[in-house]
């Protein structure tokens, strides 16, 4: 029997995964690096970065674990009129609206305290627009991931959360800066 608690085994299983993950994260790093000048002169936007990444991952993991549970209970169905699917999507949009509204105001205030000059309207617009786009992405990728892993015979509990949270982490930064380049 292999020893699940040997150092060598834990390190060998984890390192390739972690290395692949960090190379993937360089995509969002490259976007951040491209906007270095804008970020350094507007601290409010720097404040938005970790919040955007964190909230995207949270919303994604909530949606995925709910969809997976509903799949096992037999109440999930890929149909816009399915009540559970509508409840999940509705909750994600309501949560995103609340959180990114609060985040916009907070990031603006912190930005001003740190010497930034960006106005409340713009920070709020960046936060809300990128947050709502992110909510759409979270719902679409979660449903797609659950559908695909179910059809391919994978256990969605194992596959969807790591895949969707990482995709949404990276997409969170991409969306944020797509909106920043239009608004700021």
């Amino acid at each position: 029997m292999t020893d699940e608690w040997s150092i060598r085994r834990i390190v060998r299983t984890m390192i390739p995964l972690l290395a692949a993950l960090s190379v993937l994260q360089l995509v969002s790093g490259t976007v951040l690096e491209t906007y270095e000048a804008v970020l350094v002169s507007n601290p409010a936007l720097l404040v938005l970065v970790p919040v955007q990444i964190g909230t995207a991952g949270n919303l994604a993991s909530i949606t995925c674990s709910r969809l997976t549970t509903q799949l096992y209970l037999g109440t999930y169905e890929l149909d816009p009129s399915n009540p559970d699917l509508r409840a999940n999507a509705g909750a994600v949009f309501a949560l995103a609206g609340t959180v990114f509204g609060v985040v916009g105001v907070a990031a603006w205030a912190i930005g001003v305290a740190l010497g930034g000059t960006l106005g409340l309207g713009r920070v709020l617009l960046v936060s809300l627009v990128s947050g709502m786009l992110l909510a759409v992405l979270v719902v679409v990728t979660s449903v797609a991931a659950v559908e695909i892993s179910y059809r391919m015979g994978f256990n969605p509990d194992d596959t969807t959360i790591p895949v969707v949270t990482n995709v949404c982490d990276i997409a969170g930064v991409l969306i944020l800066f797509a909106v920043v380049s239009v608004v700021v």
């Binding site: 608690w5 390190v11 960090s22 790093g29 951040l32 350094v40 919040v51 999940n88 912190i110």
Partner: protein, 190 residues
């Protein structure tokens, strides 16, 4: 009935967890937006490039340590005592090795990517910052995780429900803070 809530129910249940992580994110963001950090970002090429990877691996390394300890407790393989038996010691050492290896790996890949993009980077500086930040994160995350899991378990909390929020919250806040410490120390030494 589980899995059969309305949008309002889901909203109410999820909001507290989301708000906690929001506060943590704002803390991390404030450190990131501080004058010292912005100066560091301008002075150290590649710092923004490695930031998402550095933060993401915190979740990977210490989230899996938490999940492993939690499974071990549930299976009765480890005991919720602060005594180093073989399994507990191995799990801790392995996550330390993972954390440090990946931190150095990120620094090297960032340096290579910078060179590829045609920007002048400093390998020693990036590795130094990642070693300091990786080491401090490892010490803090491992001690807090073990304390929270063991104390929580003895009081009847299911560690599976605690690990996620603890790792994301602490990982983000202290990840960014230790990055700042790393920049400072490497700036003094180099």
């Amino acid at each position: 009935m589980p899995g059969h809530d309305t949008a309002r129910d889901v909203y109410r249940q999820a909001l507290p967890v989301i708000l906690v992580s929001l506060v943590a994110g704002l803390f991390a963001g404030t450190i990131l937006g501080s004058e010292t950090m912005r100066a560091g970002i301008s002075e150290v090429p590649g710092l923004l490039l490695l930031l998402p990877a550095f933060l993401a691996t915190r979740g990977g390394v210490y989230g899996s340590l938490g999940a492993r300890l939690s499974t071990g407790l549930h299976q009765g393989l480890i005991e919720p005592r602060f005594r180093l038996d073989r399994r507990l010691r191995n799990a801790i050492l392995a996550s330390f090795i993972n954390g440090m290896t990946v931190s150095v790996f990120i620094a090297v890949v960032t340096y290579l990517w910078l060179t590829l993009l045609g920007t002048e980077g400093n390998l020693l500086q990036l590795v130094g910052i990642m070693v300091v930040a990786g080491f401090l994160s490892a010490v803090l995350m491992i001690s807090v995780l073990i304390a929270v899991i063991f104390v929580g378990y003895r009081r009847g909390l299911d560690p599976d429900n605690v690990i996620g929020p603890v790792v994301t919250t602490l990982g983000d806040v202290f990840g960014v803070l230790f990055l700042l410490v790393g920049i400072y120390i490497v700036g003094v030494v180099l």
